[in-house]
Symmetry: C2
Subunit: 244 residues, 2 copies
């Protein structure tokens, strides 16, 4: 009954309801307006996420989401021949997988707002430190992700959005505009700090605010308590929700 | 498709996805297991909330919630003859309104887990300071809520839960076990600080963990990425989600 906004992505989406998370912040903004559903799958790349599409987003759903954020690429961009190569998806396939997702969401609902988010930048030193904290001297010596390669995936993501006339958030670029982004926005060289989450929230809400999905413009579902007459409460409900 | 846990209540529920909020913390705990839906309505008492029952929770819903938290009373306990008297609901009616809610949820789904949460304690000095910060010298001189009266509502809530064999969280008592609860848990004498939210989260999760709704015991919806074979990804999906 309440409109649904779905966050589809990898661990950066899955963790988006942690303290200071961008998903929780969206849920707070859309209180009484829309439900924010977390469909984040840690470790997933776009190839594996395609297996989930029909499972999570049925073409027959009576009430498909009004908006979907697609936020993959951090795992696709894992390098071949390094410790995370299992997650690697070639650049061209990444772009085509995103295209398939978009096509699916548009089939579910032609009016759905699809917002593409690029992977964040990679702080290679931060990744190395994180690996050392886990594995000590056995940590990989060569990075499993580089910022340069993540940037190539981000570029494909933004180009696809432009090609299809969709909004996008170039998180890879946006974060690097701030000096010290490596520690300010990333907790382990890849995942987001609360400040990093705040950037995602701000950029996503900026896009939503320019559409009919601006929380401020969406109707509240039931009367605000201040307009309820203490003596005749039914009046306010009959007026705003005739089906009550 | 994913089980739903609904948080039904007043402003303390509505604000539960703010920074450090108990709703967001639940959503994080239930990532990939259940959706946490916020049905909090600031300013509402149980009398007004009854108007929403059928609107929000249809008896014909194909997939009713697996659990509901009912968290009202802070507004019902507003005193007659004071600035918030419009929100006042007599003690006995409060209890009966809670009973009607529970009956409705049980009709929606006999197996639903209903968890009652009492109103928090009231810090009268904190309320007064808050009123002065808003209205200066025009602030009310007499409290619109007292801790003693909030405690009477809490007592009715817990007694009803015991009568019906339902779990409950006595937030009013629990918070007052900690010295300095007034400032530690309450931001304006009524609403919750992040520490106050943490108490709600801990108490709610303690109840859930003793049931089949323990997040740790609930199955994940799709394969963990670590068991996906990079060469034959379809295998893991066919095994865990045969319908994919």
């Amino acid at each position: 009954m309440r409109p649904q906004i779905v966050l589809f992505g990898d661990s950066i989406t899955e963790q988006s309801f942690r303290l200071g998370g961008w998903g929780a912040a969206l849920a707070d903004t859309y209180t009484r307006k829309a439900d924010i559903l977390n469909r984040g799958y840690g470790g997933y790349n776009t190839r594996w996420a395609l297996f989930l599409l029909h499972h999570l987003f049925s073409l027959d759903a009576p009430t498909p989401p009004v908006a979907v954020t697609i936020f993959f690429g951090a795992n696709d961009a894992a390098l071949l021949g390094r410790t995370s190569e299992r997650q690697h998806v070639p650049l061209e396939e990444y772009k085509e997988n995103l295209r398939k997702m978009i096509q699916h969401f548009k089939k579910c609902s032609p009016s759905v707002l699809v917002l593409l988010i690029t992977p964040p930048p990679i702080d290679e030193a931060g990744r190395f430190e994180y690996a050392r904290s886990l594995y000590g001297d056995k940590a990989m010596q060569l990075p499993e992700r580089t910022n340069e390669v993540a940037g190539e995936y981000a570029k494909q993501c933004v180009e696809l959005a432009e090609e299809l006339g969709l909004p996008s958030v170039n998180l890879w670029s946006k974060m690097q505009e701030t000096e010290g982004w490596q520690r300010k926005f990333l907790s382990d060289g890849l995942h987001l700090t609360p400040d990093g989450n705040a950037i995602v929230y701000q950029e996503v809400i900026k896009v939503f605010n320019e559409t009919s999905l601006s929380a401020a413009k969406m109707p509240a579902d039931v009367p605000h308590h201040s307009i309820i007459d203490g003596q005749k409460p039914e009046k306010a409900f009959q007026l705003q929700c005739p089906t009550i």
